[in-house]
Symmetry: C2
């Protein structure tokens, strides 16, 4: 089932090319001003698409890396080629754990096969990961919808006002998304929702991706500066916050797009629920403490310049800082579990704690 | 004494024109890519300069309004003209209280004079307000410097890392600034400082004004996205936060540029001092509760578009959101007194509380 619509047409962020030797991905660096697919059909192409953020979002990074590894094996199915491809893809982004999870899954399948069968085996595993991601996101939508219904039951017919940060919609996954999946479900069921989307500097995924995909589906959305969340929460204008995640530790600490932590602090200060939606592939069972999650530092250029459409229609990058000024650009921050009201996974919602996660994933309980 | 330098030359944000019938102000909408003065010589010109944010910053808004009222009286010194000019100027910005304070001060002087003398009386009062602002900011610098010395004493020679939001430098006042005055004093005395400047969307005053004026004076500055503060504070990379204010209630609640509240929450979460620097003219003794401060909502266009310099050198505005998407744009938020470590005024530092403020301003103690 694919329900998310772009101007009335169902779509996915990544699809297999008809020839079965590449994938077509939406070029997210071109949104919201152009909706174009580009073909990825080599290891280098996949690594470039992930590192340049042509594709982004923890689930989609994982799926793209899985296909990228399969494509690498089409060119070089040797053990050496396999190891080199895994290393290349793993190095593209340090924070999202789905990337490493997906690579390990495909690698384990491939290494068990004869070199001549490795491409086929890896391709089928990548496809399985993609299809599982769609199914997991659909279930996250179901479980999140239950939370939204609870809010709606208290709001006597007024629209539920939700704050989200960055983009955790279908563009961040294969379909549905994580944080936006419950919102799409609510909207499709006729539950009134209104989304406040943080702009999400420095790369503006809230403006260019979240506002775009919600508006394309018809969901009411209002863009706000990243600075506005505290004021809106203080004035009682937000009923709940829902965001995605790039990595969640076994104790429930959440690495997500830079700025998430500030919004979580403000939500807590005003008693507003702060939900984090994620598939199991985002959980890093090897880490307890969020302070140990590696935080990617990206180019200062992303802070010093902003991309947008000029009045003549051209998309250009403009400098916002004086020449010579330097910038820092941490791409993620860590929200401690104590600030998270609930984790919403494909198996249901739970407390952001080791006990909470183990209640949903009992197979992870130490023997 | 004017010590703040722009590329080695002393300067002020506002100066009287040599003919005494207008003021020359730095056009802050053109920074950081052009440093130009424009002449304001009518009521309409002053109102336009304030509302379009050619001049901005609570102290400078007050001074500009004072001169604007004098200029209005040059054209029409009648009681009717006086009242109409006060109303016009008071309506330009709702949040900064310095505006109303300065207008009332000039109005009281003018109304006591014969119409023929009103321009001269008002002009002299505006000049007095401007000179007092410079003196107050210099003293804020002294008192803030004492706080910075305390931090330095604990940092064993490493640079003091300060976070600031928006612009509360000499561009926001006549000279020195409020939050940046202690930083200029520290730098000039050889105390090592490093400023992290929040970009301050939607109007980017951190990038276009704070980074510009600090760099022009030689103070080390790093630009960060508004989203980054929580991460930097969490990782122990900020020693203290210092911001300005647009209005402070008698109990110490602080209205300042949107986003200030989020930073104050994060500073508190990590035990980092959060200082607010302000002259007495920013205190609203008539208000107890910050929730009653009117919060200006500005055009959604400021959120939907970003101004910057394109590669061809032209300064252009680019759309960052998809066509048709709407935005909200509250320009200020209120930081509760409980989150403010100290208020730094021209009379010294105090707790952000009624008792704290009354200890510095005993003449305001109810009889």
């Amino acid at each position: 089932m694919r329900v998310v619509q772009v101007f009335g047409r169902s779509t996915r962020s990544l699809e297999e090319a008809p020839d079965g030797r590449g994938v077509l991905v939406v070029d997210q660096t071109r949104l919201p001003f152009a909706f174009e697919r580009v073909r990825v059909d080599t290891l280098a192409g996949a690594a470039d698409a992930i590192s340049r953020m042509v594709v982004r979002g923890a689930p989609l990074i994982g799926v793209t890396a899985a296909y990228g590894l399969a494509l690498a094996l089409a060119a070089d199915p040797s053990d050496t080629g396999l190891s080199a491809a895994v290393a290349t893809l793993a190095a593209t982004r340090p924070t999202a754990v789905n990337l490493r999870w997906a690579l390990e899954r495909v690698r384990a399948r491939a290494v068990a096969a004869a070199p001549s069968a490795r491409f086929d085996v890896a391709w089928r595993e990548a496809r399985a990961i993609a299809e599982e991601d769609v199914a997991m996101c659909a279930r996250i939508g179901e479980h999140g919808l239950a939370l939204l219904r609870d809010v709606a039951a208290r709001s006597s017919g007024a629209p539920i006002r939700l704050l989200t940060h960055c983009n955790a919609g279908w563009l961040a996954a294969v379909d549905w998304g994580t944080a936006l999946a419950p919102i799409y479900r609510a909207y499709d069921e006729g539950l009134p929702v209104h989304v406040f989307a943080d702009e999400t500097r420095p790369r503006n995924q809230g403006a260019s991706l979240t506002a775009w995909e919600l508006a394309a589906h018809g969901v009411p959305v209002t863009l706000v500066a990243d600075n506005a969340a505290g004021h809106l929460l203080q004035r009682g204008e937000i009923d709940a916050c829902i965001v995605g995640a790039d990595r969640v530790t076994r104790r429930g600490d959440v690495a997500n797009k830079i700025g998430t932590y500030l919004k979580a602090l403000a939500a807590r200060a005003h008693g507003v629920p702060f939900w984090v939606a994620l598939p199991a592939s985002t959980i890093d069972w090897t880490l307890d403490d969020g302070a140990r999650i590696p935080i990617e530092e990206r180019s200062e250029d992303e802070v010093l310049r902003v991309a947008g459409r000029a009045e003549d229609g051209r998309v250009v990058r403009v400098a916002v800082a004086p020449p010579g000024v330097r910038a820092r650009n941490p791409a993620f921050d860590v929200t401690p579990a104590a600030l998270v009201t609930a984790l919403v996974t494909e198996r249901g919602s739970c407390a952001a704690s080791e006990e909470g996660l183990l209640s949903l994933y009992p197979e992870r309980r130490p023997a």
